[in-house]
């Protein structure tokens, strides 16, 4: 795709929206010459290092900090005892049921540790190196307690307990029943009457968001207030929550998310380290910095996914679906963080996918285990749901001996049926599943690949070929505030924007949707350039600082353009309305006689007259000649609260080669056609799709956070937590259909999560299609070569992986990644 940098020299300026603009923020982000939080250096700044638990579950009997305290350049060593009165609990903003069990989440453990990597003490020193050196000098006396790592055992008979003070490992049980909600028929009756019922148990393995920039926080006390810089997706939410937790009044706390290097949901959080950095700065009255190591990031930043899914689908012999039942075990990890319980609930409405189920029941148990807490990770609930439905549709097709696409076509919502209210009660806005599928098959070269697959089967080729589908939709544009309130989420889902017309005609756009790599600055500039008729280069987008961007709800859930961009457009239209009044005054015409085109107001039928909106900005600044009773300002703001979600959809098709001798799978070809509504910048859309595909494919083939029986994270470095690079991924054939979203002024649906949500089941379905004739009906994710080989040659789903990390370069394990050794964490086996 070619980026368009030059404006064509025609009479009127070309529309910016729709241009594949290169991103104006990229030069500084790529070179790193920017305000990454860890780049920040303040006079007199102290450095934190966190002492972390090497035990998954233990009582803290004593913490001896004397040796660490007397180490060179150490200023203070603080423990849970020092902060227990003031640290409160990490907030959970989504209590999904009234009786949800929340054990409380101290930022630094006081009496008990509940996962490996939990903070037990904080070193404050004059340099990062001095702080790090003192970590191993802190002597913590632990009394180990039984460790809960397995959800099925945790919810079985007489389980060990994750939290010593609770009498259950279940945090909540949340049920949606379409029959009871009035959005569908009675599910049990539907199943009883069905010809065919297919039941499967799917496992969503635990994943680590693995953002590129590790987390970092700096806090500067100033007067009676504090400024916090943090590598966060959510500076606005963070400010409110920190004020509530620590008692620092909200107006005395300024939170700045400077340039942030990725998040994928992993920085949608109020972290223990953010709380601790603020508490230490408050205690010592000094600026303080904390920057995590990659090891700390992998073990203590929240994880994602981790569900066991029991899925049942009912149909008649002709392949008409009759009902869907979902029972989930959702691993919360050891604690509830910001939206931990909400993640599976966000998925609850998406299990029916694009299909017209008459009956649906969803039942979810949130379970505690002695592992790092889970929370939002790209897609948050919806990838899990999409995987389950797209996998079970293939299983149903096998059971019915039907073509998997034919089964889908028979059951999906027709293009003429929108808006369509699903059995889960959502109103899908627009789309054409048939057209997206038609285009995707063409892009893939479907017929030829099917023929090749047949040849390979007939010749018993050691390399078999399979084709897998995912015809998905997702709910985006989080979210209508009223809907959130009914669930009950602790905040609204609106977004805010304001536009300032500077005297020289330049424009500042302030957005409450804080970017962390998405390209807001470029896309917002394109929107505003079109609305105001000013050059793209004349627009500057400001964000991420609660003192500049006073109101906002930040970036997650593919909401930025759909909600935040909508606010920007509405604010721009208010600016134009105000400018019209001033223009009418200066042109001595009535407002009705003015036309606004290409940034200039002119009197209809009077060529040669005209004043540009940029000239009006200067006239407004001077305010010498201004209409009576009108305030001298063109600035405007807007808050947009959507009335409905938006529903991107698409068809993803994967062709997969499976080497039956080694079990290696490799993607031969990948094609997808996504409908994300109106496209503001095709280059950004394609980039988001590519990145999403990479992460979705990574779940299918590469990534898994593995814990051993003692609760040690054995994928504690990138040697063992395998994030694929471009070298490991195929070329992507991408295209779009466009059905605009009716619910926002742009018509956009959201694209940030689409690739990640759609791709995982397409990849797994493809691998299974390649080897199903060899007797394989499921393989656990990630599809490691070993699992694929075992499934082919030994039956079953590939089975559990050995938990030991690789021995390459010494085999980093808990004792190295936490900096402390225990008998339980030491290297086992032959090392």
């Amino acid at each position: 795709m070619t980026a368009v940098e030059d404006r064509p020299a025609t009479a009127g300026p070309a529309k910016e929206v729709g241009q594949a603009r290169r991103r104006k923020e990229d030069a500084r982000l790529i070179t790193g010459k920017t305000t990454w939080t860890d780049n920040l250096v303040l006079p007199g700044m102290l450095h934190l290092a966190v002492v972390r638990s090497p035990f998954a579950h233990a009582k803290i009997l004593a913490v001896d900090v004397e040796a660490a305290r007397s180490a060179p350049n150490v200023v203070a060593v603080l423990t849970g005892q020092d902060f227990k009165e003031e640290q409160g609990s990490i907030p959970c903003a989504w209590p999904v049921t009234p009786d949800m069990v929340n054990p409380g989440h101290p930022s630094v453990a006081v009496e008990e540790v509940n996962h490996v990597g939990e903070a037990v003490a904080v070193i404050v020193a004059r340099s990062k190196a001095a702080a790090q050196d003192a970590v191993e000098l802190v002597d913590v006396d632990y009394h180990p307690l039984p460790v809960v790592v397995d959800m099925e055992r945790a919810t079985g008979a007489n389980p060990d307990l994750c939290h010593d003070h609770l009498d259950t490992n279940e945090s909540f049980r949340w049920i949606f029943d379409a029959g009871e909600a009035g959005t569908g028929q009675n599910t049990d009756e539907a199943f009883a009457a069905a010809d065919v019922v297919v039941r499967r148990r799917f496992v969503q393995q635990r994943l680590i968001p693995a953002f590129m920039e590790p987390r970092a926080t700096v806090v500067q006390p100033q007067g009676d207030g504090y400024t916090m810089w943090s590598s966060t997706q959510v500076p606005h939410i963070l400010r409110i929550m920190l004020a509530m937790i620590t008692g620092v009044p909200e107006h005395k706390l300024r939170v700045i998310a400077p340039d942030v290097g990725g998040g994928f949901g992993g920085k949608l959080q109020v972290t223990p380290e953010e709380v601790l950095t603020l508490l230490v700065a408050r205690k010592l009255g000094k600026p303080v910095k904390w920057t995590e190591t990659r090891s700390e990031s992998l073990m203590s930043a929240h994880h994602g996914r981790d569900q066991i899914q029991h899925i049942e689908i009912a149909a008649d012999r002709e392949g008409n679906v009759k009902g869907l039942k979902v029972h989930l075990l959702a691993d919360m990890g050891a604690y509830l963080r910001l939206v931990s319980p909400g993640v599976p609930i966000l998925g609850a409405f998406m299990f029916p996918g694009i299909y017209k189920f008459p009956a649906y029941r969803f039942d979810c148990q949130g379970v505690f285990t002695n592992k790092t807490p889970t929370d939002a990770y790209r897609g948050a609930g919806r990838p899990e749901a999409t995987f389950a439905i797209e996998r079970i549709m293939d299983e149903l097709a096998v059971e019915l001996d039907m073509d998997p696409l034919e089964l889908r076509r028979k059951n999906w919502i027709g293009a003429q049926e929108f808006p369509f209210t699903t059995v889960a009660g959502l109103e899908y806005d627009s789309g054409d599943y048939d057209e997206a599928t038609r285009q995707a098959l063409e892009l893939l070269g479907y017929d030829e690949l099917r023929a090749e697959q047949q040849r390979r089967r007939e010749t018993n080729d050691p390399v078999q070929l399979g084709i897998g589908f995912s015809t998905f939709t997702e709910m985006c544009g989080l979210a209508p505030s009223r809907v959130l309130g009914s669930h009950p989420y602790g905040a609204g889902g609106w977004e805010h924007a304001s536009i300032r017309m500077l005297p020289t005609g330049k424009v500042e756009v302030v957005t409450g949707s804080t970017p962390h790599g998405q390209g807001h600055e470029t896309a917002w500039s394109q929107l505003v350039a079109d609305e105001l008729g000013v050059p793209f280069e004349d627009v500057e987008v400001l964000h991420g600082d609660t003192a500049i961007s006073a109101r906002g709800l930040d970036t997650y859930g593919s909401r930025s353009l759909v909600v935040g961009g909508a606010a920007v457009v509405n604010a721009a239209q208010k600016v134009v309305a105000k400018a019209r009044t001033v223009a009418a005054h200066l042109l001595e015409a009535s407002e009705e006689d003015l036309q606004f085109e290409g940034g200039t107001f002119s009197v209809r039928g009077t060529p040669g007259t005209g004043v540009s909106i940029q000239e009006l900005a200067l006239a407004t600044f001077a305010a010498h000649n201004f209409p009576e009773g009108v305030e001298p300002s063109l600035d405007a703001d807007a808050t947009f609260d959507p009335v409905n979600f938006s529903f991107p959809h698409g068809t993803h098709v994967c062709a997969m080669e499976v080497d039956t001798e080694t079990g290696r799978v490799s993607i031969r070809k990948y094609a997808c056609v996504d409908d994300v509504g109106k496209i503001v910048n095709p280059l950004i859309v394609e980039g988001q799709v590519h990145g999403g595909l990479a992460q979705g494919i990574a779940q299918a083939l590469y990534e898994e956070a593995v814990y051993d029986a003692d609760g040690n994270l054995t994928t504690g470095t990138f040697v063992d937590y395998l994030v694929p690079s471009a070298a490991d991924l195929p070329h992507f054939d991408t295209a779009n259909t466009v059905h605009e979203a009716p619910g926002n002024p742009i018509g956009a649906k959201g694209v940030g999560e689409a690739g990640c949500i759609a791709s995982t089941p397409a990849v797994v379905n493809a691998a299974l299609d390649a080897v199903r004739h060899l007797g394989v009906s499921d393989i656990l994710m990630p599809l490691t070569p070993e699992r694929v080989w075992r499934a082919i040659h030994q039956g079953g789903d590939g089975g559990d992986r050995a938990t030991a990390g690789t021995n390459a370069y010494g085999g980093a394990q808990t004792e190295t990644t936490t900096g402390v050794s225990t008998p339980e964490s030491s290297l086992g086996g032959d090392r």
């Binding site: 994928t715 040697v719 690079s725 070993e786 080989w789 690789t806 390459a808 370069y809 900096g819």
Partner: protein
């Protein structure tokens, strides 16, 4: 992460380096590119008191011929190995395997000798050196000695190098006759260590395999030779069936470990499949 504090010495000759190593005592460690040492220091798996950096010891760099041997300086970087014309001519197996080591950035800093002295069982070069019957020249206070590859790799991350010795060069015999070579690596992502890999050098004579040398990566705490397969191939017909039959013995005498990429039985299976593929490719026949 930040390594523990250490002394840093950067000598410019082998003699200076040996003195620095002796002065540094038993916790001194050699830095030969740092692509393995620095990560383990940052993870504090290693905390040497002194680091002796060989980067400036220019006499340890480069590839030369010495009679019927190819001599590779220990501090020759992977990227120099990959592009070296002498290696391409006499020991292409080394270049082929080196090209699979980690990523481009690592290959520009990491060195041939550093990788061999580190003796990571998942590293690619030890098995190659073993397959080619390389000799290791070690310098110590008392002079130099030469250790054959079969004796150099002693145990997990352990070699015949004494604490006061430095690996200065590796001598690889030039192979006479019609040799074909192939390195067959199996890993999950491009930059990852080998789960299992096989280095094969095969000499063909009159439609037969006259001699085969096969090194196995990550099939035990040290690199191993697939001796039973080598014996089965000696004198065998250069054909698919004979090779497959011989490769079926590839895992004999190995002791692979279990980890999250592979349990031992799967590693043994991989060794057999990859040996068949490596020998087939090295013998230049259609698989």
């Amino acid at each position: 992460m930040i390594p523990a504090a250490f002394e840093y010495v950067r000598p410019s000759t082998v003699d200076e380096a040996l003195r620095a190593l002796a002065d540094g005592g038993e916790d001194a460690k050699i830095l030969a590119g740092g692509q393995s040492l620095i990560p383990v220091m940052r993870l504090r798996l290693a905390a040497p008191s002194t680091v002796v950096d060989l980067t400036r010891v220019s006499e340890l760099r480069g590839v030369r011929e010495d009679g019927d041997a190819l001599v590779i300086g220990a501090m020759t970087t992977h990227s120099d190995v990959v592009s070296d014309p002498l290696i391409a001519q006499h020991a292409p197996l080394i270049a082929q395997a080196t090209e699979t080591v980690a990523d481009r950035q690592v290959r520009h800093r990491g060195t041939f000798g550093g990788a061999l002295a580190h003796a990571d069982p998942a590293g690619d070069l030890p098995a190659v050196a073993l397959a080619l019957d390389a000799e290791f020249v070690l310098a110590g206070a008392g002079g130099r000695r030469t250790v054959p590859a079969r004796e150099f790799f002693v145990d997990y991350l352990t070699t015949a190098l004494a604490e006061d010795e430095i690996l200065v060069e590796v001598r690889v015999p030039k192979l006479a006759g019609q040799w074909g070579m192939h390195y067959e690596k199996f890993n999950r992502v491009a930059q990852a260590w080998s789960i299992v890999a096989v280095a094969a050098a095969v000499r063909r004579e009159d439609g037969h395999i006259a001699e085969a040398r096969i090194g196995l990566t990550n099939m035990g705490p040290t690199p191993l030779r697939a001796t039973a397969t080598e014996q089965a191939l000696a004198g065998a017909t250069a054909g698919a069936d004979a090779i497959a039959g011989a490769a079926a013995h590839a895992a004999e005498g190995t002791a692979p470990s279990d980890d999250l990429n592979a349990k031992a039985d799967y590693r043994e299976h991989l060794a057999r499949v990859l040996t068949r593929r490596a020998v087939t490719a090295a013998a230049g026949i259609q698989g």
